[in-house]
């Protein structure tokens, strides 16, 4: 896809000019597993600005954010504001058994652990050993203690009726990332969607009755977003889309998939200067 084709593609569901001209700002998440927000504000020289999420902050620093004392000490994690939302929407409790089916590099896993105050339990799965090393490293740096790492194929997890919550941050065509459109084709979206569907079903089937999951991607392709969730709703009739439960700027999912997709969220850079994302929250039974 070239630049013009990408513009036309985006125009089919949003204001492409507005979206493409919006800046994407650096953000950090304060890691309260290691430091309080008040203490962080005392010790840091990174210039911070509040967002809609109390621990997610716009950050400006002369030093690379990943080469700061704050990062080394695990007091913060460099993470886009959009990518903080799946964990917030999943809203895990300290008693939950949580599956994070595609966990590397561990940004959302460690955020889940933070929301759970290192209690309860998270199974952080990653199919790839190489990507798994970033997961292990972030877990240690950020002081995550309630997480067990497995290296398995998430599309065939084979665990049934076990977890109370699940996060499916699926591998995707990453169309929200700079210049990803150059590699994007409908064939790529189709191939990705096959894996995404298997992964979503695998995670859904691992949930207990009444369990909840969040499905997210960082792409705009409907084949990898609404279409994947739609298939789950068709094949698992007891599955329902539910409201994200928190307030944040977003567009609803594409209406062509039905009224219930108003409960899903599409995030574009012009919403709060962060990368694009899609999120859907599903309840089992």
């Amino acid at each position: 896809m070239d630049e013009k084709q990408f513009h036309d593609y985006l125009s089919s569901f949003t204001d492409a000019d507005k979206m493409l001209s919006a800046p994407v700002r650096d953000t950090i998440r304060i890691n309260t597993l290691k430091i309080s927000k008040a203490r962080f504000a005392e010790i840091t020289k990174i210039s911070l600005e509040p967002t809609f999420y109390e621990y997610g902050l716009y950050a400006e620093s002369e030093a690379r954010l990943g080469a700061t004392w704050e990062y080394f000490l695990g007091y913060m994690h460099t993470q886009s504001l959009s990518s903080m939302l799946p964990s917030l929407i999943l809203n895990p409790a300290q008693s939950d058994l949580v599956l994070d089916i595609a966990a590397s590099p561990g940004s959302k896993t460690s955020h889940l652990a933070m929301l759970m105050h290192n209690r309860g339990a998270i199974l952080a799965n990653e199919v790839n050993w190489e990507r798994g090393s970033a997961l292990f490293s972030n877990i240690a740096r950020l002081g995550v203690l309630n997480t067990k790492v497995t290296v398995r194929d998430g599309t065939r997890l084979g665990i049934n009726t076990y977890f109370t919550k699940a996060l499916v941050d699926a591998p995707c065509s990453s169309l929200s990332q700079p210049y990803a459109y150059k590699k994007f084709t409908s064939d790529l979206a189709y191939e990705m969607s096959k894996t995404q569907k298997k992964m979503l079903f695998s995670a859904y089937d691992s949930l207990q009755e009444g369990g909840e999951l969040v499905y997210s991607t960082c792409t705009y392709a409907k084949e990898e977003n609404e279409e994947v969730v739609k298939l789950l709703l068709e094949k698992r009739p007891e599955a329902t889309l539910i409201d994200p439960g928190i307030e944040f700027p977003h567009d609803s999912g594409l209406s062509e998939f039905g009224k219930e997709f108003r409960k899903t969220a599409r995030i574009y850079p012009h919403h709060f200067s962060s990368e694009g994302f899609f999120m859907a929250k599903v309840k089992k039974g």
């Binding site: 290192n118 199974l123 997480t147 497995t150």
Partner: protein
């Protein structure tokens, strides 16, 4: 004696660190891992928490990230570094220390626990080297806290 018991005794003897009751140490594939007690309710097999250290033929070793998290409970064998020494501790193989002492030391910079190092012949050897070079390009502690 199990390696976990040996490791616990080492933490207490060398640093005065007694881990909170809700924290579990467990040996897995020749390393000692640390995790929350609540994680034990998760049945599928996998790697628990993160590596706290190991007990091997070269003696007992605690890992830097483990000490960063629990070093605040230490009461002894703590070495206070200045900013230049702290940066060197993180980025280089060793940092020069004006001391005739030897043995494992918890390295601190102001109130921040940096990790653990071995003091020998006036040099503190960092645990972080060998796991990839670290970099710190900024400084901490502004004159005034930010309002966030």
């Amino acid at each position: 004696m199990s390696h976990v018991t040996t490791f616990r005794e080492y933490l207490l003897r060398e640093f005065g660190i007694a881990l909170p009751r809700e924290i579990v140490l467990q040996e897995q594939e020749n390393v000692i891992r640390v995790f929350s007690k609540t994680l034990m309710m998760l049945k599928p097999a996998g790697y628990m928490g993160f590596v706290a250290g190991k007990v091997g033929t070269n003696g007992i070793e605690a890992k830097g990230e483990f000490i960063q998290l629990f070093g605040k409970h230490a009461t002894k064998n703590i070495l206070e570094l200045d900013e230049i020494q702290a940066k060197s501790f993180v980025e280089n193989e060793f940092v020069e220390i004006n001391s005739s002492e030897s043995g494992w030391k918890i390295a601190k910079f102001q109130a921040h626990v940096l990790g653990i190092g071995r003091l020998k012949d006036g040099k503190l050897y960092s645990d972080f080297i060998g796991k990839g070079r670290k970099r710190v390009e900024n400084s901490l502690n502004p004159s005034k806290a930010q309002s966030i």
